[in-house]
């Protein structure tokens, strides 16, 4: 019975949505034109002829993500941050510490280990490049950070978790790094306002280039002849730190050896919490 209701709902959903798409064939199915708003974004993403109305980044997506609609991205970062905090809260009381004795032969074979000693360096270099060129080419802070987090995963799988913990890559240090990255994002978001307060000029939250109502405050688009697109480079850099650290925490928590986690858990269960 329940199954049949489900199938009926499924068919109705499909029919309804296809009807809507069919009824709005001109607007919901792509044509050779884009919407007016899209043309504005494409035109003004890099438009050095009007310094009051441009994001100064040739990558239209990055300029939307961090400049035109920067607020969304700040709070998207916050969603990710809160999800990781929630995960840590669910794993609280579980020690991410080295056990007293570690068996020497943890992990995979010597060949794999030797290769793995080289590869993470390359991964992090590529990730950094993705993140720091986010305002010029497809990519950006989140993508770079996600790529960088592959390195610790590789080490986790090949060497075991203790290898990372022994070298100081643990929950606390990663949380610290993450917090530094996020604080950087927060400061960059308020950078123009802070500069404005210091120099006595009006400025906007999340402002990048000068604006008609705040012409005196801006973040530099070029540094030493290199295009950094003002706040975009800083956002990408800090997001890179935050995301890489965040993913590392998640992987550390989720690959925790189960026996170790539960032995510690049982001590905690005794005290029943009443809501």
């Amino acid at each position: 019975m329940r199954r049949w209701i489900g199938i009926c709902v499924l068919i109705l959903t499909i029919l309804g949505l296809s009807f809507v798409v069919a009824a709005n064939i001109n607007t919901l199915v792509p044509t050779t034109n884009v919407r007016t708003l899209a043309e504005i974004y494409l035109k003004y993403t890099y438009y050095p002829w009007d310094k009051y109305f441009t994001a100064m980044s040739p990558e239209a997506c990055t300029s939307i993500v961090w400049d035109f609609r920067g607020l969304d991205t700040v709070f998207e970062t916050m969603v990710f941050y809160l999800a990781i905090i929630g995960a840590i809260a669910l794993a609280r009381g579980v020690p991410l510490k080295l056990p007293k004795e570690i068996k020497r032969d943890l992990g995979l074979s010597l060949i794999v280990k030797t290769v793995t000693k080289i590869v993470p360096v390359l991964i992090i270099a590529v990730a950094g490049s993705i993140a720091l060129h986010g305002h010029l080419t497809p990519g950006g802070g989140f993508q770079g950070g996600a790529t960088a987090a592959v390195a610790p995963v590789l080490i986790l799988v090949v060497f075991s978790q203790f290898y990372l913990l022994k070298r100081g890559v643990n929950k606390n240090s990663m949380l610290l790094l993450r917090s530094i990255g996020l604080t950087g994002i927060g400061i960059t978001a308020f950078a123009a306002v802070l500069i404005g307060l210091a120099t006595g000029h009006y400025a906007f939250v999340l402002q990048n280039q000068p604006k008609p109502l705040a012409p005196d405050v801006s973040l530099p688009a070029f540094v030493g002849g290199q295009l950094i697109s003002g706040s975009l480079w800083f956002f990408n850099f800090f997001e890179f730190l935050a995301v890489a650290a965040g993913f590392t925490i998640v992987f550390l928590l989720i690959t925790l050896p189960e026996k170790l986690a539960e032995a510690k858990e049982e001590k905690h269960v005794v005290e029943v919490e009443e809501g």
Partner: protein, 135 residues
């Protein structure tokens, strides 16, 4: 007769809509939590595909539409910018999808941890075994 591009677009949209229905079915009617979460990610990906279709621009005279990256920015040539504006796809849905992907990832991540916790308590990820609450 319809053209080849119209034909492919029809297939794409049909698949997307059917996918959406299947994902919804999975979320609501599969008892296994992991399968529910997988259905949820499929739903998210379908929504993202839909956004990308909305923002796509069909090829003009056989010339492929460009990604929204103005690669000739060094030239400082307004004419090239005009060509870019007339051939690039809509960047806004792509930016929205970026945001939605990260949010979907965050929610999935948290739900996976919740499922892990449920498994630690109940030794099962099946909703039929977990039902302790009356609702």
């Amino acid at each position: 007769m319809i053209t080849l591009s119209e034909y492919f677009m029809t297939i794409l949209i049909t698949c997307m809509i059917v996918n959406l229905g299947l994902a919804l079915y999975g979320v609501f009617f599969k008892p296994n939590l992991i399968k529910k979460i997988i259905a949820l990610t499929i739903l998210g990906d379908t929504a993202n595909t839909f956004a990308l279709i909305i923002g796509y621009r069909m090829w003009v005279a056989g010339v492929p539409s460009r990604p929204p990256v103005f690669t000739e920015w060094r030239s400082n040539n307004p004419l090239l910018l005009l060509v870019f504006t007339k051939t690039a796809v809509d960047p806004l849905p792509q930016a929205l999808v970026l945001t939605a992907i990260v949010i979907g990832l965050a929610v999935t991540l948290f739900l996976v941890f919740l499922t892990l916790q449920a498994w630690k308590i109940y030794r099962s990820v099946d909703m039929r075994d977990i039902k302790r609450l009356k609702g």
